[in-house]
Amino acid sequence: MAKTALQFRHNGRDVAIFVDGGTNLLVALRELIGDMTPKFGCGQGGCGACSVLVDGELHLSCLTLAETVAGRSVETLDGIKDGPNLHPLQRAFADNFAAQCGYCTPGMLMAAKALLDRNPSPSRDEVVEAISGNICRCTGYEPIINAVLAAASGGRARA
């Protein structure tokens, strides 16, 4: 099967891989690069478990043709820590017990990061909107919303 060479930045590091025609970014990240943080939940665009940032924008990696990220920057949960230190969102999710099975957590965190990168003090409604493409079957969303508000500077005041 013909393969296409593909280079992009993955969490700040240049990577080069060969992909089959039609390979999606989720498969490329997990199976060709070994970054297991984005998860397969549906392959339909309905659950958000595979969410990543492409040039800072929230994208569904399962619906992204891998070769369309050539030369672009892809950020996953694996890249949001600052060295050994957790990102404030990661700490807030932990402090708020905002994960149970943990499977939606990587996508939720990326959706939340996409929000806070643009809007550091969102309202509760803005948080709700930001995570609305991500399905969580365990928590009932409340602790996740609280975690994002807690991580946001000034978020508490506006909630």
Binding site: A2, T4, G45, L65, T68, A111
Partner: protein
């Protein structure tokens, strides 16, 4: 057969590749084509892409706006001159889908999707398509009626007049799930007013037929009248006339017929 990806710099070449290969699909934002591939749709074996900048251009400064087929909903939301389209753009998916999904792709999205197209139908948009013999403009209503036959054509852009007054265009998507849910029904109304009278009323509905359709009886009830309670009641009473909704997981045909008038009344009278 493995999937082949073909990327063209000109939309003409892309259109030619599309029309010559029954197994080819144009990849816009990926929300339809990549999903189909993920789910094992083996009828697709060629993915066609075009890097033509015209496909992602927005011209919105004048009274007529043109939006490239590859423009995402997120870009529409970022464009102040397209404020009248923000409500329909915001009603699509969650943030990630809005960063990916395109105006052109939405024209092909089956029920319960295709909400943005409902707005375009009410706005009497023109769809510019590239065929084998060059590009041509098709009124959106005609485009939708023949949508099943359009899979081999490449949509370049859509264009429409900006509504004269901000409240002349109204849009509402009725979903079970908030803030992001599939459409039970979707309503859009363009009601230009001349003096005190509505002239050229267009009401478009989603999920009330196999494709987005106009509510012509409701339009007739509005045409030439002022938007008062009696007129709104008459339009609401006529809302279901001529529609052909189906049953699906989000609601039954019966339910859709029952509520379309209620929601049209609320939309026109500005109620929540």
């Amino acid at each position: 057969m493995p999937v082949t990806v073909r990327t063209f710099t000109s939309s003409g070449d892309a259109a030619a590749a599309l029309s010559s290969d029954r197994s080819a699909r144009y990849l816009g934002g990926g929300t339809l084509v990549m999903r189909a591939l993920n789910e094992g749709d083996i009828s697709i074996s060629t993915i066609v892409r075009a890097s033509d900048h015209a496909l992602s251009r927005i011209e919105a400064t004048g009274s007529r706006v043109t939006i490239g087929a590859g423009v995402t909903f997120a870009r529409i939301l970022a464009e102040r001159d397209l404020a009248f389209l923000h409500a329909p753009a915001r009603s699509i998916g969650g943030p990630a889908v809005r960063n990916m999904g395109t105006v052109g792709g939405n024209l092909f999205a089956p029920n319960p999707y295709g909400d943005f197209t409902v707005a375009l139908l009410a706005l009497d948009a023109m769809v510019s398509v590239q065929g084998g013999l060059g590009s041509r403009d098709i009124p959106i209503e005609e485009f939708l009626q023949g949508r099943e036959r359009q899979t081999g054509t490449l949509v370049l852009s859509i264009s429409c007049q900006k509504p004269g007054q901000t409240d002349a265009f109204r849009y509402r998507k009725i979903a079970r799930i908030k803030p992001k849910g599939g459409s039970v029904i979707t309503l859009a109304a363009h009601l230009p007013v001349n003096g005190n009278r509505i002239v050229g009323a267009r009401i478009a509905l989603g999920s009330m037929a196999p494709t987005q359709i106009r509510a012509r009886a409701a339009e007739r009830a509005l045409e030439g009248r002022s938007l008062d309670a009696a007129t709104i009641s008459a339009a609401a009473a006529a809302a279901a006339e001529g529609t052909a909704p189906g049953d699906n997981a989000l609601g039954s045909a019966w339910y859709r017929r029952e509520i379309v008038g209620v929601h049209l009344r609320r939309l026109l009278s500005g109620q929540e």
